[in-house]
Chain length 150, copies 2
DNA sequence: CAAAACCCTAGTGGAAAACCGGAGTATACT
DNA sequence: AGTATACTCCGGTTTTCCACTAGGGTTTTG
């Protein structure tokens, strides 16, 4: 499948789901708690959260009793924004690609254009999902599973 | 950008464009010719063409005056088919993914579903482009460039 | 001040991608 | 028939990237 779901993105999304769950409480969640809950290597998760912080998706509170919180409400955070932040295709990657597209051979440029179009289609999907959507969908699924169990 | 364009796929597409150009002549094109024309390492291209042959996209003629030809007309070959052949996500990868989707945690499953959706959107784009479309587009672009030059 | 937490940077291991080489096999031409 | 040409098969090498680890620093609470 052309669209990759990297370990990195999955970890980040799982962590962000945890943060979304407690968003209304305004209490920070610590790396250890998240990593234990979602089975993510803590030192690795730390890096991902740092990246998300620089991207303005989460904010952090330092010192004892510190931790991470969502920077905005879950409704205002799209999945595209998250993966863009992590995979880092925001500005510098764009330029490189555009430059490469024009310096390449004619055929290479055509191919790149088509891929760009496929990429845009995938991005649009991710653009239209928010963290809240994921939470809602999970809750609905959980409810359904419970009904089957009874 | 979520949708990768591997070196492998690009090489293959460039080679197939060459083959599409001479499709009507029914004359085979040799690896050396293609690799020289498109600046592709010949021994690597050889592997790719072998894969495409097993996938029924090209056919080969052995011996002296041998080479490769498209197995079908360029109109009948979609880009999705090509990358699926090379990247090998046809049957066994599907099963693994579906299995993983269900054995994963609930959250992981939800995420996988969304990614599947984004993937499908990208695939649909690639499904709707044929080799002939690429050729046409290239020719149109070349014509345009020529007009600007004059 | 000490403990708890985040912060920064560098590096490691392993796997996959990209690429190379050699021996074998089929085909055309003479 | 024999030889040159080109594909075929398969194993090895190199390079790149990803997931992960490590260590030393800084901020905040109590």
């Amino acid at each position: 499948m052309p669209v990759e779901l990297s370990c990195k993105s999955e970890y980040a999304l799982l962590a962000l789901l945890e943060l979304a769950d407690v968003y209304t409480s305004k209490e920070p969640l610590q790396i250890r708690q998240i990593s234990a809950q979602q089975h993510i290597p803590d030192r690795y998760l730390e890096q991902l959260l740092a990246t998300l912080r620089r991207g303005g998706i989460v904010r952090s509170q330092r010192g004892a009793k510190g931790g991470y919180l969502l920077a905005r409400e879950p409704r205002k955070i799209t999945l595209l924004e998250i993966v863009a932040c992590l995979e880092g295709f925001d500005a510098q990657a764009k330029e490189q690609e555009d430059a490469a597209k024009f310096t390449k051979t004619l055929e290479g440029g055509i191919i790149a254009e088509v891929w760009q179009e496929a990429d845009q289609a995938a991005k649009t999907i991710l653009q239209n999902y928010t963290l809240q959507d994921l939470c809602d969908r999970r809750d609905a699924r959980q409810q359904l599973d419970l009904m089957y169990y009874i």
